[in-house]
């Protein structure tokens, strides 16, 4: 749709018509249907962070190279920074806030058990990637874990702990 935007500085009389294509989207996030009015090219990352008050999903690179923004779409790990909201359709989006009700998903528990985080910034993305991976490969080898997790950068270098935590989670789930 086309709508005008009120320009606060110039006031009502000089309001310019800003051509835009804002649109209403109803997306399913963490088990609830949420309505947002955004431009269709808005990445899911910014819909979550700016519009739905779900800041657990992190901005790292904006080009799907670091994995900090990983969420699930129908259970598959996707890079929310490079997925426009217009592409979501009926898919169920799960962010770190919705991975478990009480923070007790086996991967989250294993992360605590192994005291994985240093700065912690990349860890939501790591956890989401790991959880989706374990769903498809519940009994992975160390090497398979390393391979599956290599799209997620941890600048602090907690990879060895991440690997151990995923092995632990695999045993639990």
């Amino acid at each position: 749709m086309i709508q005008g935007h009120f320009d606060e500085k110039k006031g009502l009389n000089s309001t310019r018509l800003k051509l835009t294509t804002m649109a209403i989207f109803n997306i399913k996030v963490n088990g609830k249907t949420r309505e947002v009015d955004v431009e269709p090219d808005t990445p899911v990352l910014w819909v979550l962070r700016d519009h739905l008050d779900l800041p657990g999903t992190k901005f790292g690179c904006g080009i799907a190279q670091c994995g900090a923004c990983t969420v699930h779409a129908d259970g598959n790990a996707i890079r929310s920074c490079s997925t426009p909201i217009s592409a979501v359709g009926d898919m169920e989006i799960t962010s770190i806030e919705g991975l478990s009700e009480n923070g007790d998903h086996p991967v989250q528990q294993a992360w605590i058990e192994h005291d994985v985080p240093q700065c912690g910034y990349c860890q939501a993305g790591q956890i989401m990637n790991a959880a989706a991976f374990l769903d498809k490969n519940p009994n992975p080898s160390k090497e398979e874990i390393a391979s599956a997790m290599s799209g997620n950068i941890c600048r602090c270098g907690t990879y060895t702990r991440i690997n151990a935590a995923i092995q632990t989670a695999a045993k639990k789930s």
Binding site: C66, C154, T158
Partner: protein, 730 residues
């Protein structure tokens, strides 16, 4: 027991007086607390005992962590030290990040691996002083002498009657007591918490995605701001056209901002003062509008290239006369008489910090005050700069420190905080400034580019008789004056050359050491090989010399502790055992008052060298939080291997050629080795741990790669730079 004069009392012991009242009521502890026992009831009141400690009526204890948290885990380890002396059950401890308050706290800085080192004594005293006051309050209530009151995990015990009181029962009375002149600190052998493994206090929040970081901060009515800086170092803004951007949805303003400072302090490093600011409602709107701004930039200083940098460093090392940093004996004369002379040159490129959380800061500036919130390693320095620029007094500027998504030195330089403040002032609204990854990578305070040439001489018995090091950096020499091998050789010459640049540089995890350690330890390996000696034993031989008959009396290091970590790693890694198919390299280094020795195991897989395992021995004195300490050491090793192998920032006409992670390679999960960490056990007060494991691994790695491939690695990053093997001279 040791009696210890309470020092720096002004700073933390008299907070009750400073804050006017000891009683704090209605504090919303659920909002700021760490997990505690679920059976604990919600406290009705809190009492400030001192700047670090407040005690609730029900015995819960809040400990304030004074220093910024960048992932070095001080938010857990610093309160552990307080809790140890306070003698409180860790399960009843809530940790809160303190705000910047230079009246209450000393050195609220994350840098130089110093938080625990510099905080140790004060944190212990804070805990011990509070415990003493609680004991006195209980003694008054029981009408016994204070010596008859002991403590037991948050309980006060009357040794005469066996009666017990909780800390919460006497907190109000304790807070009104005079601060004792002397406090008893625990004997090290009585430590119950220090030396154990305590989980990260923010762990549960991190794994559930709670807002912790600066970029997560949100205030009602806040706007999002982004910047455009010059595309290249050396450029200034000529003109810009923002009409199209201004017309885009959600965009409130686009304007030029000048952030140049008349008297910059050390933390104000920033090459880009000519900025275009885009302010709008949401991040995506601002990101899109940023791309719609047309700007024209012109060069006003030279636009540098990586080729020029290389040539300047060669010139610096080969032709310029540098500053002599140390001179023992006569190295040139000794080299002339040497049986063998080995000469090698090592280089490393500029590096970006690349914290996973891009630079950002929140600011709300009004004519009366400036409120800043965000990730900063040096909040006090930022406050100073903001005060000066806004013409405000100290009490008008507040800084709240958020958890940081990495620092590595980048957040020592708070230009983004000042930028946020100036933008908020300009638009008259609360603003969160956010850098894109590209902004972050191309507007850095980079690790300088380095080059060092080493020359060593061996006599006919293969003893080291001469050692020369000449090092240049863009900018700044990476050489330390009084470090190994100075002190172990009669004839030593150290010289540093500074090469100027207009590229902004600064501290990057283990500054200078992050290059010189790897170069030095790779060179020592070649000297050992020329001497026909085992590389680990050759190092021990040198330390024996420094232990028994050191050269010079101002060596930075303790040779016995240096040798100690080498011996420990030798034993743990089974160095003497021949392991089929495994190529091993060793290195040892001293920095941040700690000693680290490592053995790196490399195996060949599909004709490619793979780092399989790193064995690491550390002497950092008393280890406060065991698992957290191991995590730091592991991280430093992965970081060191990653940057030695894969990472570089290169320049073309002043423009960084890597702007995001598709161009800038960082180590990935598949490339990380298994790591085993061993600590030397001693009673030495804790020394640095966030940085010391990074520098030597670059050398141990180069040495292992040589064993595996037959190629000596002189130039970082090893997987990209050309490795020209140089000729043995003499």
């Amino acid at each position: 027991m040791k009696l210890n004069k309470a020092m720096n009392r002004r700073n933390f012991l008299k907070v009750s007086a400073a804050s006017g009242t000891g009683l704090v009521i209605g504090f919303n502890w659920l909002a700021g607390c760490t997990p505690t026992s679920p059976e604990m009831s919600i406290p009705k009141s809190w009492t400030d005992i001192n700047a670090f400690i407040k005690v609730a009526d029900n015995g819960l204890v809040t400990i304030f962590s004074p220093n910024p948290e960048i992932g070095q885990n001080v938010k857990t380890s610093m309160p552990m030290i307080v809790a140890e002396e306070l003698d409180v059950d860790w399960k009843k401890v809530i940790v809160e990040q303190a705000d910047l308050n230079t009246v209450k706290y000393n050195r609220q800085v994350a840098g130089g691996s110093q938080s625990i080192r510099a905080g140790w004594e004060g944190l212990r005293q804070a805990g011990a002083t509070a415990k003493q006051m609680l004991r006195q309050a209980a003694a008054n209530q029981w009408q016994v002498d204070v010596s008859d009151v002991s403590t037991e995990m948050g309980q006060l015990v009357n040794s005469k009657s066996g009666d017990k009181l909780g800390y919460g029962d006497v907190a109000v009375a304790a807070a009104s007591l005079p601060i004792p002149d002397e406090v008893e600190l625990k004997d090290l052998k009585d430590f119950k918490l220090i030396g154990t493994s305590v989980k990260n206090v923010d762990g549960e929040k991190i794994v559930t995605g709670k807002p912790l970081f600066g970029i997560d901060y949100k205030r009602e009515g806040q706007l999002i701001a982004m910047l455009i800086h010059a595309p290249a170092f050396g450029m200034k803004l000529k003109s810009y056209d923002a009409e199209a951007a201004k017309a885009m949805p959600g965009i409130q303003d686009v304007f030029k901002l000048d952030t140049s400072l008349e008297e910059p302090q050390w933390s104000d490093v920033n090459a880009f003062n000519d900025l275009i600011v885009i302010v709008g409602e949401t991040t995506w709107q601002v990101m899109k509008a940023k791309k719609a701004v047309n700007a024209e930039w012109v060069a006003d200083t030279p636009l540098e290239n990586s080729e020029d940098h290389f040539a300047k460093l060669v010139d610096g090392v080969e032709r310029q006369k540098g500053r002599v940093l140390r001179e023992d004996g006569n190295a040139d004369a000794a080299l002339r008489s040497a049986s063998k002379v080995i000469e090698k040159t090592y280089t490393a490129p500029f590096l970006a910090h690349n914290t996973m959380e891009p630079m950002n800061f929140f600011a709300h500036v009004t004519p009366e005050k400036a409120e800043l919130v965000g990730p900063i390693q040096t909040p006090e320095s930022l406050r100073g700069t903001v005060m000066k620029v806004l013409g405000m007094t100290e009490d008008q500027v507040t800084i709240e420190m958020t958890r940081m998504g990495g620092g590595f030195g980048r957040r020592l330089y708070g230009n983004f905080g000042l930028e946020a403040a100036l933008i908020s002032k300009a638009v008259g609204k609360p603003v969160k400034l956010v850098y894109t990854r590209e902004d972050d990578m191309t507007q850095g305070t980079y690790r300088p580019a380095y080059r060092v040439k080493y020359t060593a001489g061996l006599d006919e018995n293969n003893n080291l008789i001469a050692f020369k090091a000449k090092a240049a950096g863009i900018p700044g020499s990476p050489l330390f004056a009084n470090r190994f091998p100075a002190g172990t050789v009669d004839n030593y010459h150290g010289e540093g050359v500074n090469v100027a640049t207009n590229i902004s540089t600064g501290a990057w995890r283990a500054p200078r050491s992050n290059f010189i350690a790897g170069a030095e330890q790779a060179f020592i390996d070649e000297v050992a090989e020329a001497a026909g000696k085992d590389p680990l034993d050759f190092r021990l031989e040198l330390f024996d010399r420094a232990i028994n008959n050191p050269v010079g009396d101002n060596n930075d290091y303790d040779a016995a502790r240096y040798a100690g970590v080498l011996k420990l790693v030798k034993e743990k890694a089974n160095w003497t055992q021949d392991m089929s198919g495994v190529s091993r390299g060793v290195a040892a280094y001293y920095c941040h008052n700690s000693y680290v020795a490592q053995v790196v195991d490399v195996v060949m897989k599909n004709n490619e060298p793979v780092v399989q395992k790193v064995w690491c021995a550390v002497d950092c004195g008393i280890v406060v939080n065991k698992e957290g300490a191991i995590n730091q050491v592991e991280g430093g090793i992965v970081d060191g291997i990653g940057h030695a192998m894969y990472s570089q920032l290169t320049f073309k006409d002043g423009k960084p050629e890597q702007e995001n992670f598709h161009q800038y390679d960082l180590i990935r999960h598949m490339q990380a080795p298994e790591i085993e960490v061993f600590f030397v056990e001693n009673d030495i007060h804790p020394t640095g741990l966030g940085e010391p494991s990074l520098p030597p691994v670059m050398g141990a790695l180069a040495n292992a790669l040589y064993k595996a491939t037959g190629t000596r690695y002189y130039n970082q990053p090893f997987t990209k730079a050309k490795q020209a093997d140089e000729i043995l001279v003499g």
